[in-house]
Symmetry: C2
Subunit: 356 residues, 2 copies
Amino acid sequence: MILAGIEEYLKKIQPLIDREIEKVFPRKITKKWLEYALDKADFAYDEETMTKSAAEPIWELLDRGGKRLRPALAMLACEAVGGKKELALKIAPIVEIIHNGTLIEDDAEDCSETRRGKKCTHLLYGLDVAINDGAAMYFIPLTLLYKNPYKLKKKQISKIYDLYAQEMIRVSMGQAIDIWWHRGNKTEISEEEYLQMCVYKTGVLTRFSAKLGAILGNANEKQEKALGKFGETIGVAFQIQDDVLNLVGEEFQKGKGIGEDIHEGKRTIMVLHALKNSGQADGNRLIEILNSHPTEQAVINEAIGIIKKNGSIEYAKEKAKTLVKNAWKKLSPVLKESNAKKTLKEFADYLIERKI
Amino acid sequence: MILAGIEEYLKKIQPLIDREIEKVFPRKITKKWLEYALDKADFAYDEETMTKSAAEPIWELLDRGGKRLRPALAMLACEAVGGKKELALKIAPIVEIIHNGTLIEDDAEDCSETRRGKKCTHLLYGLDVAINDGAAMYFIPLTLLYKNPYKLKKKQISKIYDLYAQEMIRVSMGQAIDIWWHRGNKTEISEEEYLQMCVYKTGVLTRFSAKLGAILGNANEKQEKALGKFGETIGVAFQIQDDVLNLVGEEFQKGKGIGEDIHEGKRTIMVLHALKNSGQADGNRLIEILNSHPTEQAVINEAIGIIKKNGSIEYAKEKAKTLVKNAWKKLSPVLKESNAKKTLKEFADYLIERKI
């Protein structure tokens, strides 16, 4: 019931968000947009090339869909502190465009093949275009701040810039850790270290979204902090659930092979749990498989078997639930009862219950 | 004389700038720095991995040197409007770290082999680390704004953020155009379009630097604008000179092969001029060579021969001089006479006269 309700909600706001994204970054780069965002040309703009080299690849990814979870979270957070969700809707492209930028960059870095059932951007448009466009997406939505078309208060803009700056460093550090661990460079990773990496890699943009909504809704300090923490936690829980689904979910039907994380050698919370709780033989074998970056389904299944045998999938699911429960306990008392608050809770539950 | 004077000046401030960069981003990532820049960990930091995966590759590039032209420009601009160069020195790591980030990204995108006489970052540390660290360098120096250790005024911080946001979009768009053109996707590029691409690709960070200095020196609006334009122009002139040196300079002795731009198929101002002024046979041959991305020195030399025959190298040098001369004409009247003003002029002359 909850799942269906939230999915309905997300479906409803998705086209609204997409319309706002298009206002921020048009599908076709025009002289008008360039003069608005970047001032008049000193010499002459080549808007056709910018359309081909930036707008088309970026929109090709944006048009693949995705749940627009982060804008939805920003809107809910804004409403839950008594702000106007319409304003959050207009500013939320910041988090969604950045999020999609990280997908392009991560895929290029990991030499991934598919994203949302289609070839990754670097395979469609070349690595050079992908790297550049992914990074461009970190900056393009900042027009919402420096052009300030929706008349945000100076204080709000300054808070959003500060938030942006810190979160972007966090994202970079999270990815730096993830890359290094994938390579098998660290033999013992603690669960605490793993969760911190998740905070940075996946928790950052949900934290950013929730805090963005809080700032736009003029939240008090306590609310902003608790919403940030809640956003971060559901991001981490989302990541854990993502990792679970990667091994046992239905995603593979949508174009992503099952066990991709095993192939990439990812040290997920399930891997760490299995290593800690299995016998030495199983543990060594699991590490051996991860470090060999296997492509054979039988070998990948063997790794998944070791993980399952040790109850690590159940453990991960439980962990995600506990994290969200605890964050909610801290957030709930600082928010007045409202529909938005109720939906926020359902939203969190949805992220850890979802099947795809 | 001027060359020697400025080179002396740059050499003197280089170690000072490097010290400031190290304050912003330490060579070894510590818990202390992490808690300062990113707040306390929710779980547990893995500072050793972050050092290996981010600090070491980033410092490996920073330690290769480079002229630190952009911080020098920021300091001169600040002083020229009556500000304190000591403050500009402390904030200038923003432009230098970002500049080095663009080098890592550009090299990864172009599959370049060497940078400052050594293997490119993506070849030393892997593409994943390079892409991620290059982007990280766009954000790391923002700690200078959101932590505000040097007590900048709110108004200054807000102006620097706005400046940053716009310039970073410009850099991305400049690179987007450059990539597309390299591929030979556009048959006719006008000189005006080429110069605009240079404004974005090379002029942006010098513009950023000059404007940063102006903001830190509390420049008036006219000064800030004129300094921005001057910074941009010397960036463009610097790029033209760079392109000239790439074909006829001494750089190859330092590890970069001569005519690398021919190999990359770059449409430089010299190429455009040669295409416009040569007969059809030469023009077609030049395009053929550029589109073939040649590696044979004889073929590269043939292209350089066509360019030389048409006086295109002299033309480019003249163009660079005229651009700088005109920008100086607009800047000079809004600055009081001072040593900094004099050095600023010498600095511009140096950039277009330099031999390496």
